[in-house]
């Protein structure tokens, strides 16, 4: 047992939960404003592709990361237009965007790398920029877990704190919370629900784009089609089981990160008797258990998924 559970497992948990955490924060913001976003999987894959491609062509992973964020946001803009302006069903729009994202990355792989599948490796990954925060990293346990990590992991910590503050303390956070509960109340007080929802969806585009960048240029050096492997949906589950709050979503994401770290650890230990596939599915099984057990206790934003329009007149 001791070789299974040690400090490195916790470090890996934090690292592997990062993309899920980021996407889950996007999900919290988005769903709090009343928009269901199952397009996150697609936004992540778009972010991952562009981060890797731009990093490959510029040779600079930081520009790659920015590229992943920008294209993630651009792609999420389609979801915003479809659901908010064109009143399309949120789930349908999300599904269509996932399909579009898979199709686009396949096409662009051929255009930029000449073949589908996996891209050429980028020269330097963000993983190479791992650094230990002086002093803080010397604290036992917490030090190595939180303060000896790679850039996007640090960034995700800042994002958690930032958005936690935003939802609880700021005007726009208050508007986002109101927008998902009673959009008409917000609109009648002179705040544009459309604007708030665009902001929220773009925020999820930002975090999912970053999550995609983490997958392709920090945790990896290549982009592979379908490399998100359902993390967008797992993030949605983390958001739900976290009760639509940022700390809750973070804890949920850590749980899935733990399942992921554990399965990798077990695989590396190599049990002969048990096929590795039974461990690979661990995060997915954990997700199902989490949504099954926890969904009952939390309350979704009241108008989540509902269309919002004010005037039905013909003028």
């Amino acid at each position: 047992m001791s070789e299974l559970f040690d400090l490195n497992l916790v470090v890996a948990m934090v690292r592997l939960s990062t993309p899920i955490t980021l996407a889950a924060i996007g999900a919290v913001i988005c769903e709090r404003s009343g928009i269901v976003n199952i397009a996150m999987e697609g936004i992540m894959i778009i972010g991952a592709f562009f981060a890797a491609t731009i990093a490959y062509y510029t040779g600079n992973p930081w520009i790659g990361m920015l590229g992943g964020i920008v294209f993630g946001m651009l792609f999420s803009l389609i979801h915003a237009v479809a659901t908010v302006t064109l009143h399309l069903d949120h789930v349908v729009s999300g599904a269509v965007l996932n399909i579009l994202a898979f199709g686009m990355t396949r096409y662009l792989m051929v255009q930029f790398f000449g073949h589908p599948g996996t891209s050429e490796p980028i020269p330097t990954s963000l993983g190479a920029y791992r650094f230990a925060v002086p002093l803080l990293s010397d604290i036992p346990i917490i030090g190595p877990v939180l303060f000896n990590q790679t850039p996007i992991v640090y960034l995700s910590f800042l994002i958690i704190i930032f958005f936690w503050f935003v939802t609880r303390r700021t005007k726009v956070g208050l508007h986002i919370r109101a927008s998902g509960e009673h959009p008409l109340a917000l609109e009648t007080i002179g705040v544009s629900v459309v604007r708030i929802r665009y902001i929220s969806i773009l925020t999820s585009g930002f975090t999912c784009g970053l999550a995609g960048a983490f997958l392709s240029i920090e945790n990896n050096t290549t982009f592979t089609e379908g490399m998100t492997n359902g993390r967008g949906f797992i993030a949605l589950a983390a958001n739900i089981s976290g009760g639509w709050t940022i700390p809750g979503a973070f804890i949920g994401s850590l749980f899935f990160g733990f399942a992921d770290a554990l399965q990798l650890r077990i695989q590396s230990l190599g049990f002969e008797a048990v096929p590795e596939e039974l461990f690979i599915i661990l995060p997915y099984v954990a997700t199902i258990i989490a949504v099954a057990g926890l969904v009952r206790h939390s309350r979704a934003p009241k108008t989540l998924g509902a269309d919002f329009r004010i005037e039905q007149s013909s003028d």
Binding site: K171, R177, A178, E181, H182, E311, S313
Partner: protein, 507 residues
């Protein structure tokens, strides 16, 4: 006196419907103005135009003599208009403070200064006598308190003109008294008020002047201290109406007859698992209409849902034709010929995207003649529907139309047609005329009376006291989940019932 707000020839169309036709009104400074009209007369449309939520198709709005155009409520708010909607615009999961400051938060760099906000609100609520706990969540407040929050919300934005849409619809009588006091206090502080209502009593009691609207037009303007209620009523409806009694007082046919439907010691809990019905017993005899009067939220919904079968009782029994049905499934209840007209017509009564004929068959669709073995018999769907569409004068008379395309009144007729065609011996009728126009209301009332003549026992649950008085043979007052008083139709008056509804019975 100075005119603060004026509309000139406002026109507002929704598709083919003219919701406002050249409406011109004036509001004077420190005036309490009534806007009286039936459901669908165009009052709320006018107010939403004034508030910038709708854009008029034609006409002008003048504020302090200057023409203004409100692109959105934001403009209206900035110009000193405040509105309290009938359905409160409050976010239930947020606190009182957050709701009041929403959209106008005191903030530096986007970070809300909660301390400052709380102080401002404390100030406001003291100077206007509107007491609420600034840290309470809206979902934990009573309706009266929520209304105070709404008014504070407007005052916080420095509203000089306050528009209140059906402000007393959801209040208990004590709360109504408190509300009147608040309005007078607001007036004394220099605020002009518009009250939208369909209650004559209220117009007489509180307003100085009133406009009467009917089918989108202003049909009269009256000083309310001089005018009689009957006159107002006639203007409102557009013809002589008898305020009550289309009904001939009838005696229970045979007192020895046994009741068709019994509610025995029923206890039901609501969605939050709190007691909603606390042990009530009602016997309904054939041919009798029993009315349940009460202020909204006193257990009506839970009672109706329990009878339909959507909610299971905590204790007690329902007995239909001497058979205990409280554990029967909804399907079995329907097939035992229990009729029910639910309160929420579009949400619970009908499947709007389905055809009229499908909505007529639903519930019995799994039996002959509508289906045999697995297959549906669409011919029989249509045959039955054609017959009923004729008998109930459903328009347009096309059973293969989607129900969503029918008007509210015709949708209600579809429900009545469905329930009555199944020859029930007992019928639950809940809020049968909410949101319907006068013609449809009259038709539906007639139908309900006809049914009772055919010896059907009817339980009528309505928030409209007038409706209860017009139709019922016996009236039970439901308050906090208990039947606190029974009246016969002869002794019942709206004053007496009102007193019990609100708990102020010892007069």
């Amino acid at each position: 006196m100075k005119v603060v707000l004026e509309t000139k020839d406002i026109v507002k169309r929704f598709g083919k419907v003219q919701a406002n036709q050249q409406v011109s009104i004036k509001l004077y400074e420190r005036e309490i103005l009534g806007l009286l009209g039936e459901n669908g007369a165009g009052k709320s449309t006018l107010m939403n135009v004034l508030y910038g939520l709708y854009h008029p198709n034609a006409g002008q709005i003048y504020l302090h003599g200057k023409e203004v155009f409100f692109h959105s409520p934001k403009d209206a708010i900035r110009q000193g208009l405040g509105m309290v909607h009938q359905h409160f615009m409050l976010v239930e999961t947020l606190t009182v403070t957050e709701n009041i400051i929403l959209g106008s938060e005191p903030a530096t760099a986007g970070v809300i200064k909660y301390q400052e906000a709380r102080a401002q609100i404390a100030n406001l609520s003291q100077s206007y006598g509107l007491l609420v706990d600034p840290d309470a969540r809206i979902e934990n407040l009573s309706v009266g308190e929520q209304q105070r929050v709404e008014i504070l919300k407007a005052l916080y934005r420095q509203a000089q003109i306050l528009i209140l849409d059906e402000p007393t619809a959801v209040l208990t009588p004590q709360e109504v008294e408190g509300f009147f006091k608040i309005i007078h206090q607001l007036r004394s502080q220099g605020i002009s008020v518009i009250i939208i209502t369909h209650k004559l009593e209220e117009v007489k009691r509180i307003t100085d002047r009133a406009y009467i609207m009917r089918s989108g037009k202003v049909v009269g303007e009256e000083k309310t201290d001089k005018v009689t209620k009957e006159h107002l009523a006639n203007l409102m409806v557009g013809r002589e109406i008898v305020l009550m009694v289309h009904r001939q007082a009838k005696k229970r046919t045979a007192t020895s007859a046994s009741p068709i439907f019994c509610i025995e010691e029923l206890q039901v809990r609501d969605d939050r698992n709190l007691p909603a019905i606390r042990g009530i017993s009602i016997d309904i005899y054939p041919g009798e209409i029993v009315g349940i009067a009460g202020v909204d939220g006193n257990g009506q919904r839970e009672l109706a849902e329990t009878i339909i079968g959507l909610r299971s009782p905590q204790q007690g029994r329902l007995r239909y034709n001497d058979r205990d049905i409280s554990t029967l499934s909804i399907r079995n209840r329907i097939q035992q010929k229990m009729g029910r007209v639910p309160a929420d017509r579009q949400g619970t009564g009908l499947v709007l995207p389905m055809l009229v004929q499908e909505n007529i068959a639903i519930g019995m669709h799994n039996r002959p003649p509508y289906s045999n073995f697995l297959r549906l018999n669409h011919e029989n769907f249509q045959k039955k529907a054609v017959e009923l569409v004729g008998a109930f004068d459903i328009r347009p008379p096309n059973p293969t139309l989607r129900t969503a395309h029918l008007s509210g009144g015709n949708q209600q007729k579809v429900i009545l047609a469905r329930e009555l065609s199944r020859e029930p011996q007992f019928l639950l009728v809940s809020q049968p005329t909410r949101g319907l126009d006068v013609g449809a209301i009259e038709y539906i009332h007639e139908r309900i009376l006809q049914m009772s003549e055919r010896q059907i026992g009817i339980l009528l649950i309505s928030l409209e006291l007038e409706e209860i008085l017009a139709l019922s043979d016996r009236i039970l007052v439901l308050r906090k989940g208990e039947i606190i008083k029974e009246f016969s139709s002869q002794e019942a008056t709206s004053q007496k019932i009102g007193a019990y509804m609100t708990g102020g019975q010892d007069d």
